[in-house]
Symmetry: C2
DNA sequence: CTGAAAGCGCTTACAG
DNA sequence: CTGAAAGCGCTTACAG
């Protein structure tokens, strides 16, 4: 049980006051070189570390960020969390990770908890339920505390704060143009999470493209995840698609399995492109082409913007758009 | 900016001392019913919440747990984290999640940070590098602080603390017996993470079974993950396996793809069973049979044991064995 | 039943 | 250049 050294103990041994020790350790110009040296040497000897709890109380700053993650089993979010954690720790911040598990109730609870625990800022992606019910008041309430909030990926215009988003419109557009460029004419679009803002954005990206009549588009939006496989299988069997775009992580993966199940040649007869460059895409057979949203970078950027906001209270809300990359693999070429 | 209410403010408005307010809110028997009621009413009106930073300083307890996760992109760990978070929040604890990313250096750094930040306990799985280099001193150092430590999944006998592990021996044994029970005689065993304690345990589980001569065993232990696909493909092509056991999350998945690639009929010609019931297993085609380690329950149990240890300093270290389940899917029947 | 005082471990304006 | 004092927001042993 190594008793933790305190300022008081150091001051006693050095025969100086606690104030002097504190100032010396913080390199105050008030203190003489000589004293600073003496203090630091003893501190080093004892492995002194200031008690962060006391420092927090005094400074009203905890060097802790609260993170709200809707679904940790989703690779994209796992990657973002990874990026957040990395950037935060680089800058001397800890993170309190809260897994909201797609529940609005949990999101509200955790946000209150984070405020109450004096985190210096919050980075959040909203839950599916939040976006479905359009209930955002708790975020505005949190913002009233004066601490910064950065929303990422799943965002809404109804909250006035910094945002980091993927350019879903453009990413989906790129996928579409890529497939049409290959001469594909009959394209199926699938999502198992149709209410998410990101999915809506991707869909719009495709629908807004001016198309000539030779290209046919058909959509399958699945509300009930349990039926996804059956519905996708029917969808693929009953049309004559030469390409499928899976708008979320699992949609593309299921489409690949279903195409194989129906003895379609991938990518010759049917090309498949998905979203999120995770395990599923890499371990699909054939390997799946996907839009990578660069989750790690995105997470890092969210932290960066949050930290900037701490000192900049004047400028209006920022919207950072994380570029995406279309990764071409065997499922489409 | 809603200014946070403090005890002092309440005491002023109520014309009682700060001590009285504090005691009233904590239901001290010293305080009269009437005063308690008055105090609580005003506190409720103002939405008073004690400042947890101050409470921590006073009580020397932060209601925070530190969690060390070696690989958040691995579904098993994501599930465990989920279980930890759930159980912790049920009990009024927050978690500080540290992603060690399989690096011994990060593990050391974070452990120091957690101690320094006065977490009430730590739950950790060791990194691959830690197990490889057998460098465990930092854990013992942390233990000297007197705060409890629970190791899960990736553990070692060289640290004397509570542990929560999967019964890897038994799980692997069950898989083996299941396959042999189907009449499989020529079994390939694959791992892409051969240095992990859990993989070693699984392998031993299989090797320790008394076998008659009719059953052949062949192993492929892959050190370099980049070559996994090529090596597994060679392995499967050049032998005449009727069953493959993948000892980690990706090994089984790659084996399925490789078998299909070699035009083997799954499960008729070759059965495949993996470990970890994650996205990969569920989205494999055919769906993969796996050993589920029940990560969520395991995480919950780790928290439970940690909390128990906080009040029980006498009894010796516990070892909780998380039961596993063999989930049979189309890849093996 | 209520309150004054000390203290958790720091920082910092102020005095000397 | 150094130190005494106040204070961050609480809790609790002690006095009355």
């Amino acid at each position: 049980m190594n008793q933790k050294t305190t300022l008081k103990q150091l001051s006693k041994e050095l025969n100086v006051s606690v104030s002097t020790v504190s100032k010396a350790l913080n390199n105050s110009p008030e203190i003489s070189e000589k004293t600073i040296k003496r203090v630091k040497e003893l501190a080093a000897l004892y492995g002194y570390k200031p008690n962060p709890v006391a420092v927090s109380l005094k400074r009203n700053k905890t060097y802790t960020l609260g993170i709200l993650i809707p679904d940790i089993l989703n690779h994209f979010f796992a990657k973002v969390l990874y990026g957040i954690e990395q950037k935060a720790s680089e800058n001397g911040y800890k993170i309190i990770t809260c897994l909201t598990n797609e529940s609005l109730g949990k999101e509200k609870e955790y946000l209150t908890m984070l405020e109450y625990n004096k985190v210096d800022g919050v980075i959040a992606a909203m839950t599916r339920e939040t976006q479905l019910k359009k209930d955002f008041e708790h975020f505005n309430l949190y913002k009233d505390s004066g601490k910064p909030l950065v929303l990422f990926d799943r965002v809404t215009d109804e909250i006035d704060c910094d945002k980091v988003v993927v350019d879903d419109h453009k990413a989906a557009e790129e996928v579409f143009n890529y497939l049409v460029g290959q001469g594909r004419k009959n394209i199926g679009i699938i999502s198992t999470l149709p209410h998410l803002s990101v999915i809506i954005g991707r869909l719009q990206g495709i629908e807004n493209i001016p198309k000539d009549d030779t290209v046919q588009l058909e959509k399958l939006m699945i509300d009930n995840a349990d039926e996804a496989e059956k519905l996708i299988d029917n969808f693929i069997r009953n049309s004559n698609f030469d390409a499928i775009i899976g708008l979320d992580e699992t949609a593309g993966s299921i489409a690949i399995n279903s195409a194989k199940h129906n003895n379609l040649d991938i990518p010759k007869q049917i090309a498949i492109v998905g979203f999120t460059d995770g395990l599923l895409a890499k371990n699909a057979y054939p390997k799946m082409s996907v839009v990578s949203q660069h989750g790690i970078e995105l997470g890092g950027n969210a932290v960066k913007i949050l930290l900037e906001r701490m000192t900049d209270t004047k400028s209006g809300p920022k919207r950072f758009i994380q570029p995406t990359t279309l990764i071409k693999r065997a499922s489409s070429e």
